[in-house]
């Protein structure tokens, strides 16, 4: 009896050893495999045509798009590399914004970065960006191709710190079928009309949960912005962008209507629906694609995604509603640009500038058509190919031409302000605080920000 147990133990030990060895071998093999495989997103490093008498200088470009959108950027990089032989650009997809901060302050700073204009003020306040007006005057870059809005969004004290290549504004998408079902012939022009239509369109399923959502509570970011702007509310004053205006009447009007809608159906049910909508966002089961959302404030990329995912929803695009009292607010939207900037730690500033200039001029069209974004370059507003590439571009570009658009806060701590806004809105949406109470509190907190 004893012998067999010892035998068994010995065999177990041998088995364990064998298993360990196998695991170790597998791991070593994968290390070897990993080391020899190249990261798939680095672009092919081809330089321009013709013989090279001088070795091409390397320029690193970090962009935050990923996946298919990242591929569009890689294509543009490749085109730039092939168009000249002085610089060779290597692109990296770095979606995590926090990495930019860490890298830009180390000795491994990228030469050119892609960023939203939201970040320009804080990066600049921390001394991280190069003055592009100065560099552009040396290379004789024509800054007049940018609209006034684009200029305001990308300058600090009159100097450009980033060059925009794409513009993002938001307008209203609506589901034509649901509209017909509730007996409306055209989409609403005022928020009050929109509210009435939303209530008529909202339906519940057997268990009492929301089945179709009328009011544009989702996507969350546009509910927080365009949902307010259409009422004439803003988060900062439009003159300087430095003073928080959370208690402005427009904000309160918008939130009051929002809360009224939520209370009609029960805050829990609404939150649940929004949570699920968030999980499904931009997938084939997105609530708008599935025909479960009547109104939606979103950008032109939505049209591209609808086309890619599910062409069976009949939708239309129109301007964001204004109010009965202020119909001229119709079409109010945030104004955001996707830009490129040069960190101060860059070692190839001239190359980065050349790449930047390419991206906002020659390379822009390819980028915009691939990403489904609007142009920041005035000259592309009437480009036939661009207009045809996306079903809703014509309407959006019309709105762009008006050169309105609500700018982002210009305060240095705008990131913190955004977090505070989101948290305060949580209180409102969950019914924990009334809009007035929440906004008063927010205004008090925001006044301490720089």
């Amino acid at each position: 009896m004893n012998m067999s147990r010892i035998e068994r133990l010995r065999r177990m030990k041998k088995f364990k050893k064998a298993l360990c060895l196998t695991l170790a071998t597998i791991m070593t093999l994968s290390v070897v495999a990993g080391c020899t495989s190249k990261a798939p997103t680095t672009s092919a490093v081809t330089s321009g045509s013709g013989t090279q008498s001088v070795a091409a200088q390397k320029v690193t470009f970090w962009y935050y798009h990923k996946g298919d959108e990242g591929a569009v950027l890689e294509k543009t990089i490749k085109a730039f590399n092939e168009s000249q032989s002085k610089y060779v650009v290597e692109g990296f997809s770095v979606p995590d914004k926090q990495k930019y901060l860490v890298a830009m302050s180390s000795n491994e700073s990228p030469d050119l970065i892609e960023l939203s204009n939201q970040d320009i003020v804080s990066y600049n306040a921390n001394g991280m960006l190069e003055d592009l007006s100065a560099m552009g005057s040396k290379t004789k870059f024509d800054f007049s191709i940018f609209t006034n809005s684009a200029k305001t969004a990308n300058t600090v004290n009159g100097a450009y710190y980033a060059l925009p290549y794409a513009t993002d504004i938001i307008q209203m998408f609506y589901n034509k079928d649901i509209l017909t079902k509730i007996g409306a012939t055209e989409p609403p022009k005022t928020m009050e009309e929109m509210y009435d239509m939303a209530v008529k369109a909202t339906t519940l399923d057997k268990t009492g949960n929301i089945d179709t959502l009328g009011y544009p509570l989702f996507p969350l970011a546009s509910a927080r912005q365009e949902g307010i702007y259409g009422f004439g509310g803003t988060w900062v004053d439009s003159a300087t962008g430095l003073k928080p205006t959370a208690t402005s009447q427009g904000v309160l009007d918008s939130l009051n209507l929002n809360v009224k809608y939520r209370n009609l159906y029960g805050i829990d049910k609404v939150q649940k629906f929004v949570a699920t909508a968030n999980t499904n966002r931009y997938t084939p089961k997105d609530i708008f694609f599935a025909g479960k959302q009547l109104f939606r404030f979103d950008g032109p990329w939505l049209a591209k995604m609808i086309k890619d995912n599910n062409p069976s929803v009949h939708y239309g695009v129109t301007l964001i509603p204004g109010t009965k009292a202020n119909p001229e607010l119709r079409g109010e939207s945030r104004y955001e640009t996707t830009s490129v900037a040069i960190p101060v730690g860059s070692v190839q500033k001239d190359g980065a500038m050349a790449l930047a200039q390419y991206i906002v001029t020659d390379g822009a069209k390819g980028l915009l058509m691939g990403l489904g974004s609007l142009p920041a370059n005035k000259n592309l507003y009437d480009d036939k190919e661009l207009l045809a590439s996306n079903d809703c571009f014509p309407q959006f570009i019309e709105a762009l031409k008006a050169d309105k658009g609500v700018q982002y806060p210009k305060m240095e701590e705008s990131a913190k302000y955004t977090s505070l806004i989101n948290a305060s809105l949580d209180f409102v949406y969950n019914g924990s605080k009334t809009p007035k109470a929440a906004m008063d509190e927010l205004q008090k907190q925001a006044s301490t920000l720089k």
Binding site: G127, P219, T279
Partner: protein, 309 residues
Amino acid sequence: MNKKRLRESTKDNINGFLFALPWIVGFLVFSLYPLITSLYYSFTSFSPVVTPKWVGLENYTYIFNDPLFYKSLSNTLFFAFIATPINLIIALGLAVLINQKFFGRGIARTIFFMPSVIPMVASTMIWIWMFDPTYGFINNGLKFLGIEGPAWLINPGTTKWALVMMGAWCTGTTMLICLAALQDVPHSYYESADIDGANAMVKFFRITLPCIAHVVVYQAILNLINAFQYFTQVYVITTASDGVTSGASGGPENSILMYPLYLFHNAFIYMKMGRASAMAWVLFAIVGVLTIIMMKITKKTVAGGAGGE
């Protein structure tokens, strides 16, 4: 004789020092120096590219007037004083269960222990998926029992309890330590209790608990200290939110803004590293005081508990 002993003790001193040298150097470089510098930084204002500029007590005044500072502190205190004891009780309960002999005991122990070895990032993501109000398994399981589950990670009232559930799932290590302590209790105690006619409850509270008290309390202290460093799970959850915000999120109504997370936001998103250093020192002070208090309590319980083994 004296000379020999003297030589031996100096030799010991040298050897001891040499053997411990790596740790000593590490302590000076990686613990002491950063500790002192971070104290200095807490009185300055700086960011990744800006050199530190002395600002005196400005950082401290700011954080003591910052509502989010108090919010994050209260969140962390909740976690330390509510979630941690719950986890400890669950771990103890599981240990008691496994301590009994039954078929499949080893397998059950493995199942209970495995979650605590899984990388936290992966397990957090699995739980996020499970907490989804419509497609997640938890709400669907509750639906099976006829209960309508809440939107766990969206409703500010339930987010913390979601974290508690996640924590309870990972108490494997604590459970094992409790189990080992349980197995150390001498059988003779139980046998004499049986002779005296004691039932299970009496046995547990009069014999088991006092014998394992010092282990449980030590675990409690360790887990308490760890609760103040709770970061990874909340970071993954808050950055997984709606994918659009460039600001820093603390969950719905900042309900899961834990202190280390807010510190991280201040340092790496708002780029206020001086302020973050001040926050770090306040944390250090709090943890230090709490630990000392708990150790004093421990000494009392161990001394007053059932006479040793």
